[in-house]
């Protein structure tokens, strides 16, 4: 029992990271911290895939001369290479949005921002006084 629990400790790490990341995304009100959480969440999935690829006693999958070499499965690594690129793009887009939000609202706290939005919404819709949008012409 204990040996089998410890034997899959990779999965425990994946599990912990996943929950930490998801908690940060859901529980934090700061937009930057949410992105940190998202990155941790995605990283845990990368680890999960890499763990699948490991074969006991396997070497890195680089062809060598001896016939009885056991290779680790390279496919998950390749998939994760793609997923890392996607993750980088997501993080970059998220951070640039946070920058823009900060310059427009002067804050990246969800509460401040939704309070400002609510004031705008109330002004515009409940009182019937409409704010002109920044259309050209």
């Amino acid at each position: 029992m204990i040996s089998s629990t410890i034997g899959i400790w990779n999965y425990w790490i994946v599990f912990c990271l996943m929950m930490i990341g998801l908690f940060l995304v859901i529980g934090r009100k700061n937009f930057l911290k949410k992105i940190v959480g998202l990155t941790i969440f995605q990283t845990s999935v990368f680890l999960l895939y890499i763990t699948f690829g490991k074969i006991k006693g396997g070497t890195p999958p680089i062809l060598n001369t001896s016939i009885d070499t056991i290779y680790s499965n390279p496919l998950p690594h390749v998939l994760i290479l793609t997923a890392i690129v996607v993750g980088v793009a997501t993080t970059a887009l998220g951070l640039s949005l946070v920058l823009r939000i900060n310059s427009e609202y002067g804050s990246i706290e969800e509460d401040d921002i939704s309070a400002q939005d609510l004031v705008d919404y109330h002004d515009e819709i409940e009182t019937g006084k409409s704010i002109d949008l920044k259309f050209k012409q």
């Binding site: 998801l22 995304v25 937009f31 949410k34 992105i35 998202l38 969440f41 995605q42 999935v45 999960l48 895939y49 699948f52 998950p76 998939l79 793609t82 997923a83 996607v86 793009a89 997501t90 887009l93 998220g94 949005l97 946070v98 823009r100 939000i101 427009e104 609202y105 921002i113 939704s114 939005d117 705008d120 919404y121 515009e124 819709i125 019937g128 409409s130 704010i131 002109d132 949008l133 920044k134 259309f135 050209k136 012409q137």
Partner: protein, 496 residues
């Protein structure tokens, strides 16, 4: 020449927008980038029509990328099911591009226009790739291409209204979590089956019934896709993203983005997991059926109380997605066909409504709220007329496309002993008349405004095309209905 073209069609529908999206940025000229985008979306539409013709002959086309034989290499599959979302996406994106001619230069500063068109094409390429690919991991890549491009497009609305930034941010975070959940699911499936090819997955899942990793993987995949498809409790990102996006982007996303994900949902449920019948039946009955019924009512009621019209339409989209998911969850051949019919019809209805509302927003230069609409009906006759026709189509009046989908949906639910489902659908449709009438009443019955607005043919051209389609497919629905029934038969095949 023609032979090579036909042989490579499955990849061309993806490559055409993908490659032009790179070309468009090179020459930052407003008219040039619009022209190239129109050409590209038109070619994509043409290719998908040719594919439709091919499908009528061959019924199943498998395309091996780079000549790597399918279970090893990546495979693109076009069959009678996949062709429906391909035609929806390419057709609507062509019409939305015509609409974008006037709207994008209005709302976006000159130096970023060509970049917007680039993102526009990237989003289209992502969505088409999503439905054509036959590889579970490749699907994730396309999912992220389309959603990152649409997030950036939504954020471009910030030049008009800063709330677009927060909307885009929420869309990004929720979408990324959804996509990551999907990847976890794929990983678990890969761990137990050792393949990523969908056809291969279907075959290998057969002897793995009641495997816990299989059930967990299935759950992760379904939840991830449901986030992207905005099925009820996971729809939170949708109303804001559609409301604050630039006008043309709202039209494109509202009509196509969720449809592609709904198709993936259907494919996971009825194609990849077709051999684990217990799992699927339980999921349909205890997860998707209740959620979609709640979606039908929650979306409609939110729409009734909403005062910002673009948000109202977005809430109504949540309800309509509920109808489609409901049709899938009944799980008979007739109901799945009804789901595809509604998928097609809802795309043309929502595109029409969004074009009408956003062009009213353009004419009055204000955010379209219920107060701003009063008395505009007489000032904007063409827009108003098309808006009313599309609204009637959404409500499901006879002679419009909406009627056909409601008819088949109700027929399917009655024939599967779900008379109470049919009654709920009717109640929800009746409720949807409330919010549609609210808009029409304000537009037409209030005292006319004294302002003179000249309607621009460049703007209402696309609206007229969409409205014509709404009426045409209401009068002669044989094309959509036959296609959908063939798709449903292909999807659940010999099961039921």
């Amino acid at each position: 020449m023609m032979d090579i073209l036909i042989k490579n069609l499955p990849i061309l529908v993806v490559l055409c927008p993908l490659m032009t999206s790179l070309l468009v940025v090179l020459i930052p000229n407003t008219f040039f980038s619009w022209g190239l985008t129109t050409l590209s979306t038109f070619l994509t539409f043409l290719f998908s029509i040719l594919l439709y013709k091919e499908i009528q002959i061959h019924a199943y086309i498998s395309y091996a990328i780079g000549k790597w034989i399918p279970p090893v290499g990546i495979e693109y599959i076009i069959d009678k099911v996949a062709i429906i979302p391909v035609i929806i996406i390419s057709g609507i994106s062509f019409i939305a591009t015509i609409y974008a001619y006037k709207m994008i230069p209005e709302e976006i500063e000159k130096k970023s226009i060509s970049k917007v068109y680039s993102l526009w094409l990237l989003a289209i390429a992502g969505l088409i790739g999503l439905v054509t690919t036959g590889d579970a991991f490749n699907l994730f890549v396309f999912l992220e291409i389309s959603s990152l491009a649409s997030v950036a497009l939504v954020a471009m609305g910030a030049q008009k209204d800063k709330q677009a930034l927060v909307a885009a941010y929420n869309y990004l975070i929720i979408g990324a979590v959804g996509a990551t959940l999907y990847v976890i699911g794929v990983g678990l499936l890969y761990g137990i089956t050792g393949t990523l090819n969908m056809t291969d997955l279907t075959n290998r899942i057969t002897d793995l019934n009641n495997n816990k990793a299989l059930i967990a993987g299935f759950g992760f995949m379904i939840i991830g896709i449901m986030v992207k498809a905005a099925v009820f409790p996971l729809h939170i990102w949708l109303p804001r993203a559609y409301a604050y996006a630039p006008s043309a982007v709202s039209v494109l996303l509202a009509a196509t983005a969720t449809k592609a994900s709904l198709y993936i949902l259907a494919r996971i449920l009825f194609s990849i997991f077709e051999n684990s019948e217990n799992l699927i039946n339980n999921t349909l009955l205890f997860v998707i059926l209740p959620l979609s019924i709640i979606a039908m009512f929650a979306g409609t009621i939110m729409a009734i109380y909403e005062k910002d019209i673009k948000r109202l339409l977005a809430h109504s989209s949540v309800a309509q997605i509920g109808y489609i998911a409901l049709a899938f969850s009944i799980g008979t051949k007739a109901s799945i066909a009804a789901g595809f019919i509604h998928m097609f019809n809802h795309a043309i209805i929502k595109a029409g409504l969004f074009i009408a509302i956003t062009s009213i927003g353009f004419y009055i230069k204000k955010r379209v709220t219920i107060n701003n609409l009063s008395g505009l009906g007489r000032a904007l006759p063409v827009t108003f007329f098309c808006f009313v026709l599309c609204s009637l189509s959404l409500a499901g009046l006879p002679l419009t496309a909406g009627f056909i989908s409601k008819l088949y949906l109700i027929k399917a639910s009655i024939s599967s002993d779900g008379i109470w489902i049919a009654i709920l659908i009717l109640i929800s449709s009746a409720l949807s008349v409330v919010y549609l009438w609210k808009m029409i009443e304000v537009l037409w019955m209030r005292a006319p405004k004294k302002i003179v607005i000249k309607e621009n043919p460049k703007i209402y051209l696309s609206l007229i095309i969409i409205t014509f389609l709404n009426i045409y497919f209401g009068l002669d629905a044989s094309l959509v209905v036959n296609g959908s029934f063939e798709a449903a038969e292909k999807l659940i095949g010999n099961l039921k």
